[in-house]
């Protein structure tokens, strides 16, 4: 009771207001300068075309150009395809791994470590290693396939294989990360429910379908959002492995922004692309926070 009164009193305390803003100020200043100011700036730039350092207002014309640009459409398609494949596959794999790593298992911590370590390694290091795995003929993958007399395609050189090769690598990188979230979710599940189910003679598949799956649903939604946004954020490997090629077959949106801004120095287009990426990420987050889940997970 006194606590409530105290809090009601504090609500109107100007001292608290000043203190709160003073405490928030250091974080706020960096948040504004490096998140909000650039967002506004890039939106503004996206309406200007610059030719020889002279900028003039062109309205939505650059957006029209980008949306008709074949390279952009290809890059966007790649990114969406990548998300559509890697997100469900790595989540299912992660759930499978978590269910078993959580249970009684021989060599559990070793197995868990094997799944988790790719999460920790820099994308650049992963790219260096996987570049050699995917090397034609001498690479690890082709040597392995050679044992069965299979002649592998040019994993990174063939436009129809390169995105698939990237998907395989990203699933390997991400599944262990998502497993951790499922592990946390599974450990908070009530043991009694499982015991009751076992008394009722429920088999493992039924237990999974009727108890585990519904109960890890909130975790799945959370992982879904991380996985989807990550598929737009992880692009470092392209710098080492393909530079987005061959013929943009493995290019992704953020990497395309990087080349447009820092190789082609096309400011207007880079701004438009950044705005599009921001919109994609904001839509995903609004969908998540507004529609799927009201709770804050942090």
């Amino acid at each position: 009771m006194t606590r409530h009164l105290l809090q009601a009193f504090r609500r109107y305390s100007w001292k608290d207001n000043i203190l709160a803003y003073a405490l928030l100020f250091p974080s706020l200043i960096f948040l504004v300068i490096f998140t909000f100011y650039p967002m506004i700036k890039v939106l503004d730039w996206s309406f200007y075309e610059s030719v020889m350092n002279v900028r003039h207002f062109v309205g939505l014309e650059l957006y029209g150009q980008v949306l008709r640009d074949e390279v952009f459409l290809k890059v966007l398609r790649n990114n969406v395809l990548l998300a559509l494949v890697t997100v469900p596959v790595s989540i299912l794999l992660a759930l499978y791994m978590a269910v078993w790593v959580n249970g009684k298992l021989r060599g559990r911590s070793l197995i868990r470590a094997a799944f988790f370590y790719p999460t920790l390694i820099p994308m650049i290091a992963i790219a260096n290693i996987w570049l050699f795995i995917y090397t034609p003929d001498y690479g690890l993958l082709d040597k392995f396939l050679g044992l069965f007399g299979v002649d592998g395609p040019s994993w990174l050189g063939n436009p129809s294989w390169v995105l698939i090769s990237m998907m395989g690598m990203l699933i390997w990188k991400e599944a262990g990360y998502f497993m951790i979230f499922f592990l946390a979710g599974l450990q908070s599940l009530p043991k009694e429910v499982y015991q009751a189910a076992e008394l009722d003679g429920a088999g493992p598949i039924r237990k999974f379908r009727t108890i585990t799956l519904p109960l890890v649903m909130p975790t799945t939604l959370f992982v879904l959002i991380i996985a989807t946004t990550n598929s737009f954020k992880l692009v470092d490997h392209l710098y080492i492995m393909t530079k987005g090629g061959p013929n943009n077959a493995s290019n992704l949106l953020l990497y395309h922004i990087y080349e447009t801004a820092f190789s082609f120095w096309d400011m207007g287009k880079a701004s438009v692309l950044t705005v599009i990426l921001l919109v994609i990420l904001l839509v995903i987050s609004i969908f998540y926070y507004g529609y799927l889940d009201k709770r804050i997970h942090y």
């Binding site: 809090q7 305390s13 207001n17 709160a20 803003y21 405490l23 928030l24 250091p26 974080s27 706020l28 960096f30 948040l31 490096f34 909000f36 650039p38 967002m39 700036k41 890039v42 794999l93 791994m97 078993w100 298992l105 060599g107 070793l110 868990r112 799944f115 988790f116 370590y117 790719p118 920790l120 390694i121 820099p122 994308m123 650049i124 290091a125 260096n128 290693i129 050699f132 795995i133 090397t135 001498y138 690890l140 979230f181 946390a184 493992p204 959370f222 954020k233 470092d236 080492i240 953020l254 922004i257 990087y258 701004s271 950044t274 921001l278 995903i284 987050s285 804050i296 997970h297 942090y298």
Partner: protein, 270 residues
């Protein structure tokens, strides 16, 4: 029966996951001559550290290690400070615009500075910070992720403890120091591990804002090195260099495995 099948399946899966690292480790000690001729890619007849000495000789590792350490520490220390203050405000103070500010901070979780490479580059240029370690660090000095993580922990600390310390005559920073900080230690460890591994791995942003050896972190350094080789003969050197970049992380993981896994779990679910 199904248990055995799954034990086998999951073990094979774990083995597949481990292969790239094991193979990289084996390749890094394979002499250049054996690299392409060997039929079994895991067999080394004459293991050698020549690749490591070669990598150490060609890449200015001491400079890169030092840069990465400075950057990682410089980011973490400031983040801890800013996040602690902001988290305390969000957890324990009532103020105007609290809800709005909370949402503003939330935006940074979805749109980290890494996405805004292009506009942030021009901001750094205007600040005349291009090709400095400051440029790599400063955009990450506010961490919404750290703020939310700590806020959640601070909220779980009984308010009575805070009040008791006030009765004893503590000012807010004294109760923060004596009450909140000690109770939140596991959260600080969790956040530190995540922050360190994230910034150790960061690549695109440092690549854009640095232009010289004495400011580049490890990731950019080895990427530029790896660019110059593509033939099989240099695999040994590149993998040795790669192993040297990931070794500190793997060693840290080995020693802090429990904390690492728990910290990532901690970070995701609340």
């Amino acid at each position: 029966m199904h248990r055995l099948l799954n034990q086998i399946a999951i073990s094979i899966l774990a083995l597949i996951f481990a292969v790239p690292l094991v193979w990289a480790a084996v390749t890094s000690i394979t002499p250049a001559g054996e690299m392409l001729t060997r039929s079994n890619p895991f067999a080394v007849t004459q293991p050698t550290f020549a690749n490591y000495t070669e990598a150490w000789r060609t890449i200015p590792f001491p400079v890169y290690y030092w840069n990465t350490l400075l950057i990682v520490a410089g980011v973490l220390i400031v983040q801890l400070l800013t996040a602690t203050l902001a988290a305390y405000a969000f957890a324990r103070l009532q103020f105007l615009g609290q809800g709005l500010l909370f949402i503003l901070f939330l935006v940074q979780i979805m749109i980290p500075p890494d996405i805004l490479i292009f506009p942030n580059y021009t901001i750094m240029k205007e600040l005349h910070l291009i090709d400095t370690k400051w440029a790599i660090m400063i955009p990450f000095w506010a961490s919404s992720f750290g703020i939310f993580l700590l806020r959640q922990t601070f909220k779980q600390i009984p308010y009575e403890l805070d009040e008791a310390s006030r009765v004893d005559g503590c000012r807010w920073w004294q109760s923060l120091w004596h009450v909140y900080l000690p109770s939140a230690r596991p959260t600080y460890v969790a956040f530190a591990l995540i922050s360190i591994s994230t910034h150790w791995s960061n690549f695109m942003w440092p690549l854009i804002v640095t232009d010289s050896v004495h400011n580049r972190p490890l990731t950019v350094g080895i990427a530029i090195f790896a660019q110059s080789f593509e033939t099989g003969a240099q695999w040994g050197t590149v993998t040795a260099a790669t192993m040297m970049v990931i070794a500190p992380l793997l060693i840290a993981f080995f020693f802090f495995q429990k904390q690492f896994v728990e910290s990532f779990m901690h970070a995701g679910i609340k």
